[in-house]
Amino acid sequence: MEKNEAIQIVIEAVKGYIDDENVPVNAETVLLGNNAVVDSIGLVNLIVDIESALAEKDIEVTLTSEDAMSRRKSPFRSVDTLSDYIIELSA
């Protein structure tokens, strides 16, 4: 999968979940921590939404694996890092 495509999938999911046109969403958007656009239950929703969007493209991945949890740097930090993680898993 191309990086742009992955970013687009993540951005669509974030926009769809927060459902607020006043919040800009782009590759830099933060998903985890103090400046995050979603809270923890929001992140959980987002991950499920992204997994189903990927499943529609016949890409079956589990984003919350033990691997994701035990990395030193969380792949859920931002739209960009999450997109990289999706590409890595779907490769």
Binding site: G16, Y17, D19, L32, G33, N34, A36, D39, S40, I41, G42, L43, V44, N45, I47, V48, T64, S65, E66, A68, M69, S70, R72, K73, S74, F76
Partner: protein, 444 residues
């Protein structure tokens, strides 16, 4: 008169740190001043034995008010800003006065014109004891108003014990939170209230204020592990992390223990109906635990834990007594036994535990079925590596509709009707409902 021993200890500790809130530290002198203000206020505006609800977050004001309510002999009903069904709860708890704070700390004093005359409330008034009403989620999903005699709880705190600098991010209406708070105050310890309840913010708070005890849930421990917030902030001041309210995944326990071998992990067990019990874990990375203490008796029947407690509630104001003739309470928790130790296996029934919060399928189903074009909804829990479980729903539609549109429609509709953790995360469209041979809905 009820909390003389606590007030005495305050007076001996005037210059000691009491509450850390909104980037400031308040001492016991400040709390005592506030307490006296509130006690005067209550004496002027309420009668002892009257039912007073307070909606607030933890702050020096609400904490002092809570103490003043005990001293004045009121029956206290705590609400948090997360409660969405306050009107209904005011009715079932027979609230007579309502002190409603906004987020800036301003308050309104409202007379509800309700007259509290429930038999259990009368019983408590005859004892001339202060009370507290907390809401417990029952098996039907309708919150039950559980009435406690406050003096039971206070007696536990008469013996002075050591305290640790504690952070609390439980909501104001949480029974376990009230216990923790009273424990700390009666031993003139330090209670820290972070502004935001996120892993980052809490870890930063721990670092800044050298917090020693973090009472939390397995989900929050998971969120700390996932967010890596502990790498940005030094949380080595922590001595104890206690967890309860939901099943602890063994993997989380072991991962945390590996990262922080010096932090003692302590499992707690509390039920609204019984109080919070002392527990002793077999070891730091073990889920085997001894539950009880001098005020509790336990027995296991058919793998289900039963408890008899001196500190149990008088009863529910809006439901039949949950105790059998001998005073035993069926916890509904399935357990395994090994000598004196038990291990929790999960709930007997359908309750979905989302990060420590209970969700009753029936409640969510009833909201979903109000939505246009939804004929039938079956709600069940689906395991989730972050929250333990999340809410999932199978939907039968009237007319065909694309899944994405249905999903966003459901979220929009539920937004103002359900707390965020109750809103279904997974949505599936199906043809027909699964029914068991007893003609009961099969969830999952």
């Amino acid at each position: 008169m009820y909390i003389d021993f606590i007030i005495e200890r305050f007076k001996e500790s005037l210059d000691k740190e009491a509450v850390i809130w909104n980037n400031s530290v308040y001492d016991y002198r400040y709390l005592l001043d506030k307490y006296e203000f509130w006690l005067d206020f209550l004496k002027e505006n309420t009668q002892p034995g009257s039912v007073v609800a307070v909606r607030a977050d933890y702050n020096p004001d609400s904490i002092s008010l809570m103490l003043a309510l005990i001293e004045n002999g009121n029956i206290f009903v705590p609400f948090s800003f997360a409660n969405k069904d306050i009107e209904e709860k005011i009715q079932s708890a027979e609230v007579e006065h309502y002190i409603k704070f906004d987020k800036e700390g301003n308050f309104q004093f409202i007379d509800t014109e309700i007259k509290a005359n429930h038999q259990l409330i009368e019983e408590l008034r005859q004892r001339k004891h202060p009370g507290v009403i907390v809401f417990s989620s029952g098996s039907t999903g309708k919150p039950k108003a559980a009435l406690h005699d406050y003096t039971h709880l206070l007696n536990k705190f008469k013996v002075q014990r050591a305290t640790l600098r504690t952070v609390t991010f439980l909501l104001f209406d949480h029974w376990g939170g009230i216990n923790t708070l009273l424990y700390i105050l009666s031993n003139t310890g330090v209670i820290g209230v972070p502004d935001v309840r996120s892993p980052e913010e809490v870890c930063e708070f721990i670092e800044r204020y050298k917090i020693e005890l973090l009472p939390t849930t397995p989900t929050f421990i998971n969120l700390i592990l996932i967010s890596k917030a502990y790498l940005k902030h030094d949380i080595s001041s922590l001595k104890v992390v206690s967890y309860g309210t939901e099943m602890m995944p063994e993997s989380t326990l072991k991962a945390f223990n590996k990262l922080f071998p010096k932090i003692t992990l302590k499992q707690t067990y509390g039920l609204t109906e019984l109080g919070v019990m002392r527990t002793k874990s077999e070891s730091n990375d073990s889920l085997w635990v001894k539950v009880g203490g001098e005020d509790y008796e336990t027995k296991v029947v058919d793998n289900v834990l039963f408890i008899k407690a001196k500190t149990s509630i008088l009863g529910y104001l809006n439901a039949p007594s949950p105790f059998d003739d001998e005073g035993w309470y069926n916890t509904g928790d399935r357990v395994e036994q090994k000598g004196e130790y038990i291990r929790f296996l999960g709930r007997e029934n359908d309750i979905i535990n989302v990060g420590g919060q209970k969700v009753f399928p029936a409640e969510v189903e009833s909201v979903l079925m109000q939505i246009d074009n939804i004929n039938e909804a079956t709600v069940f829990g689906k395991s989730n590596p972050i929250m333990g479980n999340v809410v999932a729903a199978k939907i039968i539609l009237d007319k065909e509709e694309p899944l994405n549109r249905l999903k966003s429609k459901i979220r929009k509709y539920c937004k103002n009707k359900l707390e965020a953790y109750k809103v279904p995360v997974h949505i599936e469209i199906t043809e027909k409902t699964k029914v068991s041979e007893r003609f009961k809905k099969v969830r999952g």
